[in-house]
Amino acid sequence: MDERRSGAVEESLLRQGRKYALGLRLIVVGLSSTAAVLFGAAPPVALALTGWNLLYAWKGTGRWAPADVAVMVAVGLTQPWTVESDPRGGGTWVLIAVAITLVTYPWLLPGIGFIAAVTVVVGAHYAGTILADPGGWLVNETVEAWTAAEAGLSWALYRFVRRSALTADGIVSRGAQLRRTAAIAAARRADEREYLAALHDTASVTLLMIGNGVLTKREPWLAEQARRDLREIGRPDADGELDLIALLRDIATHTPLRISWHAPDELLLPAVDAVALSRGTREALTNVVRHAGVGHADISVRRDGATVTVEICDEGRGFDPAQTPPRRYGVTRSIQDRMTRRGGEAHVVSSPGNGTTVTLIARLAVPEVRGDEGVIAASFQRGLHWAVVVTVLAVLVLLDLPHLLAAPEAYTSLPAQYAVWGGLVAVTLIAAWARRMPRWPLVVAVAVCSSVATATVRPEFRLGPAHWSEGDAGWPIVLILLDSPVVILAAVLAGQYLLTFAQAAVDGQAALSVAGVVNATWAVLFFQLGIAMVAAVLRGLAVSSGRVLREAERVRTAEEVGRQLHRDRERRWAELAPATVPLLGGLAAGELDPADPRVRARCAAEAARMRRLLGEDATVTDPLARELRACIELAERNGVPVSFAEYGARPELPPPARRRLTEPAIAALATARGKVRLTVAGTPDAVTVSVVARCSAPPDLPDGDGVRRSTVLDGDRWWIQAVWQGAA
């Protein structure tokens, strides 16, 4: 195959195409050689070729191609022993075998090898006819040329279809990229913000409350909380996953219960699901402690594919669910809410005296990816459609017109023949461009053309080469019914042939014997049916490639989400590491006293910083917030605690307006003493930046760029506001 890397659709097309090429060849050669043997037109050794085809289709690889060409050369050269020269034979089984084999070669032999094979095989066939029937009717250059032309048409079809596969791959990969970006952004928002914010929140609550001065001495539980907080924020290596078992064991140690575990040692789950299950388990255990009246519970955890089940069993008092007091109902409802919100389930089974079993089921989330079947199918259909248009026009212009011109004596009315030929070309062009036009009127037009053409051929020429419309009227039908099921196309084609045969039979005489008609019919029909089959294969292929691609896409998306989350997590860790981590560490070790004013100030500042960090959406960039954040950080390093809050969606501001908005806040922060409140409020046409602080009198800055400033002095506190009003 080509050196260039193929896309998934193209690869799958080449694989399927090869399979069908070999199958088609096996059937056509098998039928035509068997028919020839039965009619006595060939010796039984002709069946050996089918044996070879069978072997090739079954075991053959790309490396078998040269051997296959050699076999076909041998078949061509041995014609003196395998064919009979019968002027009414209409073509030999060897010709059919050679033709069908060459038609399948584009799928089996790449590029230059294909041209060489066609040349060699056609040459061998020609030489064979000269050896078998020197100067006789078997020797026919036009037939050889047409056989080579058929191979060329088949190659054109192959190229068309393959190019459409390439287009499909292109569209699919662009689409996939867009969807992946969207899925990653969504996952980052949902997972990162919710989960990590929740975990980090516990740490920032600890710092906030100490900063508020609620603790007057070192507490043993504070050290434990600080250790837990450290553990939670220090998970830079967790790949978006958490160990459910570790979470459950942690919860169990906070209850007085003895637990019997039926669980694996470790079960890594997406953080979202692990947290949901552990929260549910915690509530279930709380209920055991409160209501069951026993000191023991069983916890079993199992994973079954994408489903994780946690079961919490006790052998306590139990209760009658039908008569549960509403307050206890409230508790189990809260477990159910939690699980069903993410597509899971929660069941509580209990009866008085028989204990209670709480079952929590989580279905692991997988990023949803939409399929591309439609895109691929449409691309294939376009490719195949134009390939068939080219084939039909080539047959009518290059094969049929010369026949018509060569034998004017064969027809009762030459104008009628030309009219029919013109009619078929017209039908082909209409079917090519007016794809929305109803199909059946075109089929009827072809049938009328065909029957007029047959009626104006002299009986003794019927079914012979001069009767060009006999098989070739089927070509426009192939084009017209290309999108229909194969059965319908095959039935209409057969109907068209039977109509012609019936017309010929009525007048008795014909140019060919019965075996000859069978051969001649085969030679055209197999090609036509072959194309119908390719169309069907491509339709199926579009669906299966779509499925394969979707699977691959799912995996790629999940991996990319994981990588992205990991990066976000590392970034956050890096931001927390210098100040927050040592602070929590000091509290955990009991080295820092929460009653010490300096410790409290540090805690307050860190809590504010963490909250800002977590409040920000990593997937959007807001220059105004970034600028303000930078000055807040600076103020906090100088020991000025800043309480920051923002509400409302902000329009994007022109940079000069943004600078004027932030200038007063920056000036105030630089000279502030004590607590500062900094707020931003946004509406669609106005943005306000406000600062309240004990600071030096605000400098007299001019208004401009749509920004107005105003100040209020209350005792020693300045309230400075800058408002940007939109042009409206």
């Binding site: 508020n212 929260r279 809410d337």
Partner: protein, 213 residues
């Protein structure tokens, strides 16, 4: 004495709320505390005047279901959460929470909010005020420009005196303006007994008329 049940799984928060309540005048008694909502349903928390509820924001999302059930049982609930985003704040108010406090506002506003909730009067802390003032959802109540102005200035300054000075109003006018907005919010969205009571009382007191709603 006002009694309170605190639903929060963080020990430091418990310590903080206890400390503030003990220093309150008149004092407030924290009668129960628990890491999940069952503390508010079982004695002694079941009869507390006010529920201080942490939304338990974890990855599975806010515990709106717990809030709904408490509100529907006629409880006065103060949502006290780490989260300050507008959607969460306004959703809790729509469900029927008395008020919404961010954890950062606790020190300055929790005691006052508990007293107001126990008395069945509205209380609008600055963060909630900011969420009201920038609300752009289609079903928001109709506010006058002055009301929006008061909401935003209160959010910015955290000082009613400053708001009054800036807008040339009395502190009393600022308060009644905030109350009117709160009642207007109680009059829209999901129906809840606490919201209906707030509206009925405001109409009775003449704080606003049916035309204002």
């Amino acid at each position: 004495m006002i009694t309170v049940v605190v639903v929060d799984d963080h020990p430091v928060v418990q310590a903080g709320v206890r400390a503030w309540c003990a220093l309150a005048d008149p004092p407030i008694e924290v009668v129960a505390w628990g890491p999940d909502v069952s503390a508010a349903w079982l004695a002694p928390g079941a009869t507390a005047d006010v529920v201080v509820l942490d939304l338990q924001l974890d990855v599975t999302g806010p515990a709106y279901g717990d809030l709904k059930r408490l509100v529907d049982a006629g409880r006065q609930v103060i949502v006290y959460s780490m989260r300050a985003d507008r959607d969460t704040v306004l959703t809790c108010l729509d469900i029927g929470a008395c008020t919404y406090l961010t954890k950062a506002e606790g020190e300055d506003h929790l005691v006052a909010a508990i007293a107001a909730a126990a008395a069945g009067t509205p209380y609008t802390p600055p963060a909630l005020s900011g969420a009201f003032g920038t609300d752009d959802r289609p079903h928001r109540p109709r506010l006058s420009p002055r009301e929006t102005e008061v909401l935003l200035e209160w959010f910015h300054s955290e000082s009613k005196e400053m708001v009054a000075r800036r807008l040339h109003l009395t502190v009393h006018r600022v308060n009644s303006c905030l109350e009117r907005v709160r009642v207007k919010y109680a009059n829209v969205g999901r129906e809840a007994p606490t919201k209906a009571a707030l509206v009925a009382r405001a109409l009775q007191d003449g704080l606003l008329t049916t035309d204002d709603l």
